[in-house]
Amino acid sequence: MAEQHLPERQSPLEPDYHPGSHGNFEHGVDVILSETRPGSILQLAAWPGEESRLIEIIRKVTGLALPDGAGGGVSSGGSAAFGFAPGKFTVLDEAEGLAQAFADAMTPAIGTLTDLSHGRTTIRIAGPKAEWVMAKFFAIDFALPAFPLGAGRSTNHHDIFAQIQRTGADQFDIYVFRSFARSFWKALCYASEEVGYEVQ
């Protein structure tokens, strides 16, 4: 088969993505905002009763061992996975082509696979005030004991649906619909002005 040449992906944030320090940063930058641009973002859903088989497939294909429990997740190097709903998981990799890697293992008897690589934008917020800024957007508990490392959460901000994974003690990756991403990004920048932010 001929090699596929996909069009180069453009960032929806580009017109409002301004690297550098902004806002009230005279006393230091307290959050760092960036777009992580993973090559593959997949949504995997298991039929009822097939959840453990799906978790095993995720482990075989990606090497990521998902912990038990609602919203459990893991982040390692360039790949990550987390539960965002009963029997449903978001899996991503920095490289493209993860859907093909799952296509053979993911039989119709187990569940469904949806490639959202072009449908979601991933925004990373990191730094000592990341929890503070996130708490202004989402009515969930961002403290480490309530939202452990690797875990995922589904919530929304003014009808912009968001999936959030904690990828560090003071770092979160936010998945938003690509068509809403620039609007959300601008709001995130406004919200970060008071603490001083850097766009990387």
């Binding site: 609602a70 709903a85 009963p86 589904s154 919530t155």
Partner: protein, 97 residues
Amino acid sequence: MLITCPYCGPRDVIEFTYQGDGNRERPQPASQNLDAWNAYVYDRLNPAGDHNEIWQHSGGCRAHLRVVRNTITHEILSTEFARGGHKSTDSRAEGRS
């Protein structure tokens, strides 16, 4: 008002969408029993007290939930996934379908 989603934990009511009275029994699609269809579409218990309701966590995990809410105090007495059986909170609903 907080609703405790069985998957996501306690969340603000703004994340949820009300899907209607949880006491309704939908007749079989081929049913020509007009009384049963009339009851399904129009009859509501409207209790002042505990009420069976269906909600969707539309701004979160998107699961459909069976919620028992007190219509006077707005206290949420129980939440569970809508999938599976249930018991009515109101004796008047029994034997009506």
